[in-house]
Symmetry: C2
């Protein structure tokens, strides 16, 4: 199975969280079993795509019987790493950072948010979701004591490169990057998951333009 | 050219905002001309990919001369629709909605944010980026007067379906959807651009797990 995993494309990977969400919902609603056909209708995918996707991970379905929801949910959770408890820190306690800290359930997605940092004296000492904002100057000490694995970057793009360099030295392996800076070009060895909100808004603009052209 | 556009894949489209960002940066730094090779190094793409991508839109480069940065920037901007001024409203003035309103430069991406709505009496009347939060009950009147084209949804997933139904009736054609609800399955005719932050965090979790497996 681990051999199999090596070749899984990022597009399959990117669909897994969605499967995970749908299955979590089914569980909540007391559904214990589901066919690929039924799942496909709910998710707006084809049944064969679903079978293909899930086959990549060893295929949990049984012909003519469907998937056992909680088994599949747990398996996908394991693949996604939600059974792990990795430590995360948040850099940047401005509007966006604060919203992310308040809004995201890190703990259901394999992470514990253990520290929040900013360099703005007005923000240092404020408490967000029970976590006091610390001075960024304390990052070295904090990381050597607590060994966070990932950092959430909610800082201006101008500071991103320097901060990522510093954090990489402190053992950070993964970045959840909200700045509009393309970290991946400069940090090829780190895991970088970008949330480029501006790019997403531009894509919306493009697609609405296309719609108007067709009308 | 419009015929050409019909067949452009979403993966090319999704790279355009990134080109747009890079070119905007080059402009800011006074760069007037750039070869596909130089651009490729900065962006971490291959030169042939860049030529291919930009060819989809009619090819602005000249052999042996490169791209004229501001021309390419303006052309891509036009394709993305940043030369338009479309009206947007934001639904949900909680942590996330507030961060989006404060943090995003809508106006540089083809949109004017003209209204913010919430149903929470504690939020109604608050002013975010100069815009007072209005009672969601006033949406019908507001939309019939102001004709917004898109809505940013920062509401809980339980309310998303109902709200999208209501907004579609009010003429909203595009949704920037931050809720973890898969609108596209139920609103196939609308343009839906999802920002599923939870899915992105799960993808990070997966990729960090993979990294650890390899170590």
């Amino acid at each position: 199975m681990s051999n199999k995993r090596e070749n899984i494309s990022m597009s399959v990977i990117r669909r897994l969280p969605r499967y995970y969400r749908f299955l979590g919902d089914l569980l909540k609603h007391g559904v214990t079993r589901i066919s690929s056909r039924e799942l496909s209708q709910r998710m707006g995918l084809t049944a064969s795509q679903i079978r293909q996707d899930l086959n990549c991970f060893g295929g949990f379905g049984q012909q003519g019987y469907g998937y056992i929801v909680d088994q599949l949910y747990r398996e996908i959770g394991k693949i996604l790493g939600t059974d792990k408890r990795r430590r995360a820190i948040l850099i940047g306690a401005g509007n966006l950072g604060r919203a992310i800290a308040n809004h995201m359930a890190f703990e259901t997605r394999g992470f514990d948010l253990i520290g929040i940092f900013d360099q703005n004296p007005n923000l240092i000492g404020q408490v967000i979701k029970g976590i006091p904002v610390q001075d960024s100057r304390g990052l070295e000490e904090f990381c050597s004591r607590n060994h966070p694995a990932v950092a959430v970057l909610c800082i201006p793009r101008e500071s991103t490169h320097e901060m990522a360099t510093r954090l990489t030295k402190l053992g950070i392996k993964g970045f959840w990057n909200f700045s509009h800076y393309d970290l991946s070009v400069h940090f090829p060895d780190a895991v970088i998951e970008n949330v480029h909100l501006g790019d997403s808004l531009l894509t919306l603009s493009y697609r609405v333009s296309e719609l108007e052209r067709k009308e």
